[in-house]
Symmetry: C2
Subunit: 144 residues, 2 copies
DNA sequence: GCTTGACCTCAAGTTAGCTTGAAGTCGTAC
DNA sequence: GTACGACTTCAAGCTAACTTGAGGTCAAGC
């Protein structure tokens, strides 16, 4: 397969070269050999980068992403951890849906004040319900 | 209405006091008066904090969130900007869905290598398609 | 053979979003 | 009235994820 140098990867993946070097430095991607000084990338790096971008928009840190996609092309992690992450994503989507609906509603609603609009209040209540688990208060019990 | 001091807001909202002070400092929330030195918060701050948390999980910065929810309880921003943000959220949800499906699939798939699994390859192609607009390459045209 | 431009390294700088720590001020319970 | 714990300020520190800049290398085209 024909290798690409960093400029081409950058252009195709929409990621600046500095970021690609950084990702390589932390072991998130790798370049296969050098042509003189220049890194040569296998085209596979593109799907890997797509997966990384996906993980980023999902709010995973680069470290978490490394853990998930491992060194080679495979996805690691025990099955139940993967399922747990998938469930997190599901919950996150639910939150996004609420926010999306709220914004759409506000864009269309004619009520003088949203605080008086029943639809808005319902959405806000939904938003409040999503507010579970996150910061653990110092005084809270130590039970998982 | 009875005011709450910072500890109670912290407990109820699941947000550390230091964060609440920080949010106040940058004008994202406000405390109404002081009882001696102590900030007193209107209970409304809780829905505001829920909205902020929602915005955060959606990937908005605190500055963007300020712009959206404004100083008082209302949501600001011209309608079409709100709709545009809502559409962003929609797109983001699509990405999350792909990632979720990918993780779920990987958790269940029995294929020896994912790279050979057609389902996986289909998901990866979908992931690649989401890879549009983000970093604008220096050599790219200046057209919006 | 020389220029050019795309690459290289390495250290230092940047931004967002908080947290931590030291030192001080209160109001409530005893 | 004093001790306690929950608050206060302010400056400094921290982490993630990059970017920037100075100074250097090299291959391909002329």
């Amino acid at each position: 397969m024909k290798m690409m140098d960093i400029g081409e990867v950058s252009k195709r993946a929409g990621v600046p070269p500095s970021t690609l070097r950084y990702y390589e430095e932390i072991g998130l991607i790798r370049s296969d050999k050098r042509h003189g000084l220049r890194r040569q990338f296998d085209p596979d790096v593109l799907s890997r980068l797509a997966l990384i971008a996906l993980g980023r928009t999902a709010g995973f840190t680069l470290v978490e992403i490394s853990a998930i996609i491992g060194r080679d092309g495979e996805l690691y992690l025990p099955r139940d951890e993967l399922r747990a992450k998938a469930d997190d994503l599901q919950r996150q989507m639910a939150k996004l849906r609420i926010l999306r609906d709220t914004l759409r509603h506000v864009a269309d609603c004619k009520a003088p004040s949203h605080l008086e609009c029943p639809t808005f209040r319902k959405l806000m209540k939904a938003a409040l319900r999503t507010e579970k688990r996150g910061y653990r208060h110092p005084n809270a019990s130590n039970r998982p």
